[in-house]
Amino acid sequence: MTVDALMNWFAKLGDFPELAFILAVLICAVPVFLFIALYALVAIYGELKISSFMQDKVGPMGQGVGLHAGKWGLLQPVADALKLILKEDIIPTSADKKLFILAPFIVFIGAFIAFAALPFNQNLIIADMNIGIFYILAVSSLGVIGLIMAGWSSNNKWSLYGAMRSAAQIVSYEIPAALSIIAVIMLTGTLSMQGIIQHQSGFVWGILPNWIIFQNPFTFVAFFIFFISGLAECNRTPFDIPEAESELVAGAFTEYSGMRYAFFFLSEYANMFIVSGIAVTAFLGGWQSPIPGIFTSPAWGLWWFMSKAMFLIFVMIWFRWTFPRLRVDQLMNVCWKGFTPIAMVNIFGVGIWHLMLG
């Protein structure tokens, strides 16, 4: 939508379609990057504070004299980001230099381009493609190539182990995630992100908003399968065996420092937002208000989308500080023996329910 609007506007100025396309894309890309950076600061602050609260600590606090982290430690993520940017950028001598330099950017691009199809409200979506959700699922797994590049080029056993585990995990968990999205697509009949959200307006069962999660018991299960598979795809605890700081130092990121490490970090948080964004769009009504009919303006739409997404990110942080890490075999058990068969059954269930009762 935004890209189209910009291109139409450029078309009025003159006849230069190729340049107009490049300009429109660049103008959309800058705010998205700023949004990711800003959101990452908020999420890191939330992670620091919530993790501390769950462990009966207070987290970063700015009290006392001299340089400190501001009121309630609000400046702590800014200080962290500055530190990461200013740190020395070390490339190991035995590393494959080209791949080593390229890897963090590929991981980041995988997260970054998925933002193009996230609908922030009725109008604010960079490109409302008719294959939106398929596009996001496809490009968000691009990051795994970057991870393998990072692990291989570092020439380090921890990195390679981390990258291999990460690849195995992401490829496996794509399947239950995509299968539970199929259940959604069967109900909505469209792959477009805006189309999926528009399908979810009004009421269901009399009082509940007509979100897909409430439409039938099978989609309720599908939501949890998708959310947890998404958690595994962004390598968050309890599925963080690729990073596993107690056994693999930092997994594929072991040899990285400074700016490049910051990019891995940024893309990890961006991936969390993408998973939350898809879950909100596909199951929780996107920018639809929880009370259908009121608070429906675009500004409220942005608020509902962001608050739902941030709530899911809070749940991810909550998971991280509650659950212990799964072992590799347990991880694969959960995926292949748990989620995949249930997601398959879900597809049939949703279809039968829709035929009989829909």
Binding site: F53, M54, Q55, D56, K57, G64, T322, F323
Partner: protein, 194 residues
Amino acid sequence: MKKYFANIWGTITTLKTGMGITWRHMINIKKDNVTLQYPEERWPRPERDIGFEHEDYNVIRSRLHVDIDDCIGCLKCERACPVDCIKIDTIKAPTRGEDIPDIGHTGVTENGTNKALVVSRFTIDMSECCYCNLCVYPCPEECIYMVGGPNSPKHPIDYEFSEFNRKDLIYEFSKPLTSEQKSELMNPKPDAEA
């Protein structure tokens, strides 16, 4: 098959229990918090009574203190100090045993000694002090001693010695003198001598 679903059910319920625990800790953070914001909050200090009177137990090595009015500037403590953390500068007083009220100098010590020197600087660097107590014994006027132990009536307990600036650990005991006052003391005017 039954075991499979029992497993799933067990997983869901136990995860719920775990999340409940962390949630309760998070919302009760005000009550459960164990972190002290150190410089602003401190643990309560234990009672000072340890069963001894101060006189019986005054060798506790807590912090050096100097009664500068009694100091005659003999430099014995400076020489005794094994780490050279005591620094003393002296200027010859115009008249022996006479008060100089301008700079707060007293002429006679508590023991009745007439002071011949004005102590213009008496600093102890507490970051270097090794609490060996060796400077206390040679002092002829008994004006340098350890304070702040339990039951010490004179001085508050400071068990931390923590400062935000390292320079604040250099304790200055002498009366502050301006450079004019110093030069006046060093070069007495002829008519003042007469």
